[in-house]
């Protein structure tokens, strides 16, 4: 369900903080549209660090594998990346649906190394928000349905104080891909 316990601005602030600390830069440089790799100088290892910080802050589990990885797992090797390391037409179609804003920059045949460059501050905010929106109706521990927020970012059960269990980033991607596949039969 769409949760309204943690405001989007709060998520944005925490994402900026995680990036600033993860790659050790001045928070003032970080804009919603900044590309982490191109504009802020992040390397692939930095993404792990940033994700880790966000997981600790919000009690969520960010995806360990990319949408591309999941496509190949679900729909077979070379369904998303061809033998030359280029994006397949089917994968480009799926990615364009997922990243509306960037749809025009994603093309079949592009080098998959170009994809991480498209990760922006807002796309991370969106990822975190999607995970927070998987907040279940009821606490899985005691069945109560009154969530409260601790330290402005941790959702816990108002009755038994257990932390909320959000869907993991990997499960969310997998569910989404299965849904797309069912609707559009792309692969």
């Amino acid at each position: 369900m769409k949760q309204n316990l943690i405001a989007e601005q709060r998520v944005m602030d925490e994402v900026k903080k995680a990036i600033a600390e993860g790659i050790d830069i001045d928070p003032g440089r970080i804009k919603p549209e900044s590309s982490l790799m191109k504009d802020l100088g992040a390397e692939s290892l930095d993404f792990l660090d940033i994700n880790y910080r966000l997981e600790q802050t919000f009690g969520i589990k960010m995806a360990r594998r990319t949408v591309i990885d999941h496509m190949e797992e679900l729909f077979g090797e070379e369904s998303a990346i061809d033998a030359e390391g280029k994006l397949t037409a089917k994968a480009a179609e799926v990615l364009a649906m997922r990243y509306d804003g960037h749809g025009d920059k994603i093309n079949s045949g592009m080098d998959i190394d170009e994809l991480p460059v498209m990760v922006t501050v807002s796309s991370i905010v969106e990822g975190v928000t999607n995970l927070l929106d998987t907040l279940p109706e009821k606490c899985s521990n005691c069945g109560a349905g009154d969530w409260k927020v601790e330290e402005e970012s941790r959702v816990v059960c108002g009755s038994c104080a257990e932390p909320a269990e959000f869907t993991s980033g990997d499960d969310l991607i997998e569910d989404w891909l299965n849904k797309i596949q069912e609707e559009k039969k792309i692969f």
């Binding site: 390397e43 290892l45 792990l48 660090d49 994700n51 880790y52 360990r64 594998r65 190949e72 797992e73 090797e77």
Partner: protein, 266 residues
């Protein structure tokens, strides 16, 4: 290093594969401190990989030793060949080969794609053999030493860690090479590390729930591993052949205790 003569390492040459970060970096610096000149191998000719390797080279030079950074993907036989030629041109000798570089996907075995499996074997198994083959003439000439870097994953299950089976193969390779190369005057051993908080730990903790809870005293520092690598190359280790030495701050001995601890608590 009381066991080594003070001048033993002076003007000798060590190469560390994956010497730009983590345990490789600490090993490169430990050799420089011992007096050796060091070749720092890293994987990519540009970007962060190159920058990190150059930083290590500067630190070696600050210790008063010579250094050379060489970009080469060890999974590619031709690149390894070019790297060893560069080493040969540089100082005309090679005394110590430390096989430290590793890179692997983190997933359960049943989810590995064919491409990932090939990369796993090419980098972590074949790559080390390419290095040995191409370095052998130089090592034979110097009566050199080879030290592999293994991990506890060679003998214990870790979730989503296919690298473990490559480390098991590595430890078998150590025995094998020790026998065949020993006859040619080259000694071969390995160091098997426990949990080290390097860059790769950042990946590891994503897959191994609760890894963060391992108390600090059961983690081992890159420097502690590096010191044993240097020791295995020193005259003090001359009687050690084909062995894998565990350097883990005692972690392995603690691993089986939770099994009964939980049961007793009920």
């Amino acid at each position: 290093m009381g066991v080594a003569e003070d001048s033993f390492f002076t003007d000798k040459v060590a190469i560390i594969t994956g010497g730009s970060r983590g345990i490789g970096r600490a090993t490169a610096l430990a050799f420089a401190k011992a007096g050796a000149d060091v070749v720092v191998n890293h994987s990519k000719p540009e970007g962060g990989s190159k920058k990190k390797a150059e930083e290590v080279c500067r630190a070696i030079e600050d210790l008063g030793r010579a250094s050379l950074a060489v970009a080469a993907d060890i999974a590619l036989k031709a690149s390894v060949g070019e790297m060893m030629e560069a080493v040969s041109r540089w100082r005309g000798r090679l005394d110590f080969l430390v096989l430290n570089a590793a890179r692997a996907p983190f997933k359960p075995i049943e989810k590995l794609l064919e491409r990932e499996m090939r990369q796993l074997v090419e980098t972590n198994y074949m790559g080390n053999i390419f290095c040995i083959q191409k370095a052998l003439p130089l090592l034979e000439a110097s009566g050199g030493k080879i030290v592999f870097i293994s991990s506890l994953g060679s003998r214990f299950y870790n979730p989503s860690y296919p690298l473990g089976s490559m480390k098991a193969a590595m430890e078998a390779l150590v025995r094998d090479c020790s026998e065949t190369l020993g006859e040619r005057g080259v000694s071969v051993n390995a160091v098997c590390g426990g949990i080290v908080r390097t860059d790769s730990f950042k990946t590891l903790r994503q897959y191994m729930e609760d890894l963060e809870n391992i108390p600090e005293e059961l983690c081992v520092s890159p420097e502690a591993l590096a010191d044993v690598v240097v020791f295995l190359c020193s005259p003090g280790a001359r009687g050690i052949r084909g062995q894998t030495v565990v350097v883990d701050n005692g972690l392995a001995n603690r691993l089986y205790r939770p099994a009964w601890a939980k049961k007793n608590r009920g």
